[in-house]
Structures are given as C-alpha cells and as structure tokens.
Amino acid sequence: MKHLVSIKDLNIDSAISLLASSQELALVNQRQVKKLPTLRGKTVVNLFYENSTRTRISFEIAAKRLSADVINFDASTSSLSKGESLKDTALTLEALGADVIVMRHPMSGAAQRLASSDWIRGSVINAGDGSHEHPTQALLDALTMQQRLDLGSNFKGLKVLIVGDILHSRVARSNIFLLKLLGAEVSVAGPETLVPIEISKLGVTVHHDFDQALADQPNVVMMLRVQAERMSKDLFPSASSYVKFWSLGGHRLAGLGPEVVIMHPGPMNRGFEISAEAADDPRSAVLQQVTNGLAVRMAVLQTTLSGGN
C-alpha cells in the first residue's frame, strides 16, 4: 500500500491487517521506551492547508515514535498563503526528499489528486480532504470499537449510529466506507438538510429522528462535531433546536444500555452536540480514540513506507 487516500484503497484483508498492526503498536505505546527505529532516515511532511492541531500532533508523534524526521508545513506561515499551487509545493517537497506527505486540505479529492500526480515519488496519507474522507480517523474508530466491544476481526452484527452533519463530514464518509467493508451495519441520523436521503445509497439506514434511531439499539453512537464554518445558509436549524433534537445527553444518555460505546472524533462542542455528562460518561471512548489515533497513524506510516513501492 503506497498511499492511504481513501478507505477504498483498502480491502477487507488489508483493513484487518492494518487494525492488527495498530493493536500491536497500541501495546508498544504502553511501554516505557516508546521509540522504534522503523523509519530512521525517512522524512515525513505534515502538509496542512487547514488548521488541525490535534491531527497534526497525532501524526507528528506517530512519525517521531518511529524515528522519522518530521517537518510541519503550515499554510498560515508559509508560501501556501501566498498562492503557491499544490503542484509547486509538492515539487518543492519532493526536491527536499519527502518520503511521505501527510496532507490535510479543505478540498475534497486533493489527496487523491496529489497521489495520482507525477509531482512526487513518495507516499500520500490523507489527513482529511474537504467533505470527502479522513481514513485514519475511521481506522482509529474501528480499533476503538474492537477494543471496547472485544470484536476481534468480526464486525458482523455490529450496529453503529452516526449522528449529525453527515453531508459535510469526512469522518462520517470514511467510517461508513470502512464499517461497511468490515461487515457492520451503519445508520445515520440528522436533520434532512444535513442528512439527505440519497445518503442511503452509500448502504446506510437514514433516520431523521434521533430517538427513533436510538430505538434500534445501536452498539456504538458516534456524535459528529457540528462544523458551523462549513454551513452555508439554510442548512442549519437554530442552536437551541439543534441541541433539543440532536444532542446526546439527558434522557437519550440515560436510555443508552451499559455496553453502548459513545464516540466523538473531537474536538467536542460540549453542551452542543454532546452534553458534558455524555462526554465524561464511562461509556465514552473519546480519549481512547485519541490514544488509538497514535497507534493507527504509526501503523499507516509503517505500512505505506514499507514494501516494494
């Protein structure tokens, strides 16, 4: 696997294998000495056209744990803000010897564009492209589900509910693609404007009522961050009505079974899509997700950088 641009770059075997490697690396991360020599001499560039300190730091620590050199290329402090094209930036990074480009970009398809271009010889890892995909997030979510629910490699029968702005969410798309690949059942819930009915063509059940969706007794409830900055007009009900209809808290939290896993890709808007009680509930796996993000990104770096590319 040279690039990880989309969950569609994986098949069931490579996905399970990546998750197994991630699980081993999660154990490594519990050791006292966490440094591994695997990527000595390799250069990883974090090319972030969108600010995301959390994802950037996660990739940075992952690369450093594997002994790679890490360069952060931040749009707000570089020539990127001066209008340099992606091509010229890529050629520059190639000339500097980048072995992997980890890219976050506001436009859907940007990572695939870079990976399929002849501008670079190295690998591309998609750290989020527009509303399209965020594959490492989906992998870390799947790893968290495996650990919490003791799934092994069997996701059959697992019911996952994703709630919020599905239309604009790369986290939702990657999770849908990966969970479907692994054999889980996925349903989505949110207001009609953010969860158009065509989404069902991705193979998911669509709900426009949170309580009805919860009545199906999902094993995992994944709340998405409300991204106000992505909204154009008319898509969005008022904040108070959003909380009333779409927030996880109160009676909805109380009604969840003891084994249900609450997930959120972060950063959370506490009191908005998720109540403080839900965020801090023992059923919440939010911090485990963050920890697993490190292991998954190490596994993805190791996999893309090894093998006869």
Partner: protein, 176 residues
Amino acid sequence: MTDRTVLSELDILRALKRIAHEILEANSGPENLLIVGIPTRGAPLAERISKILKEIEPGHSFESGVLDITLYRDDQDAASRQLGHTSIPVSGVHDKTVVLVDDVLFSGRTIRAALDALTEFGRPRQVKLAVLVDRGHRELPIRPDFVGKNLPTAISEHVAVNLVEIDGVDQVVISE
C-alpha cells in the same frame, strides 16, 4: 523445482530435545531462563523448547515470550509486513538469560533486529541464540549457541521449515 526433505518430524523432535539439554547445561541449571521466540516459526519452536525443559525439570516453571522484530528490520523498503504479536512476561528480561529462538539462521539480520528489539525491554544478563537450522551465508558477525542441524546450502536454495502449529506438518525442506 526439486524438493528435498532434510529433517523429518522425528529429527526435529530430537534436535529440540538436544537443544533443551544444551541450554540447561550451558546455564548450569534452570534458573533465570527466558525462552523468546521470533515470529513466525520461532514462536512455536520456543514454546516446544519450554515444554521440553519442563519435562526435564518438572519442578521448575519456565517462562517464554514472543518478540516481533518487524519494526526493527533494516530492510523496511523490501516488503510490506503486518506486525506480529510481541509478548514478554511481566517479570521482564532484566538480569535474565534470554534464549532467542528462530527457525533458520541465514544472513543474521533478523537476529540483529531481535537484539535491538529486546533492548527496549531492559538489560538481560546474557543473550543466547538457538536455531533449528543454520544454513550459513552470514552477513553479520552473529553465531548461534545452539543448533539443531548445520545445513550447508547454496545461496540460491530455499530452506522451508514447516511446523504443525502453522503448516500442519513437521519437516524441513530444501528446494531450488
């Protein structure tokens, strides 16, 4: 392609028994031993040796472990490998005699990686190496302490160790 069986099921059993005895002899007894297998086929071999050791010294419990070396290889570019499982007993490696176990000793690079990997867990008193087959052609100054069979081979030949736990049969086969 011609296949030639060089060790049978019985040959393998005899070799492992002999290795177990040699380990005890070299260690002057069963104390402070940790048998660590290198995946894939070193791991079941290490378990078998531990089991034989227990048969020889029934009053003693022997610890064993598994050490995956994928992340420590010096040929990361060569092939894409899934990580294997690593498990070292909670008592750790400190001040123990660690016996690394692998199926075939060839270039020595796997063992070099294993020594690095082992270091992450602490400082053993000494590290020994046991292999079922030593086929020569070393590329590093590494030498086994316990050998099931020395097997002179041509570099073009392929040595395959099959074990019941993984392959359904016990045998060592050379093919061209």
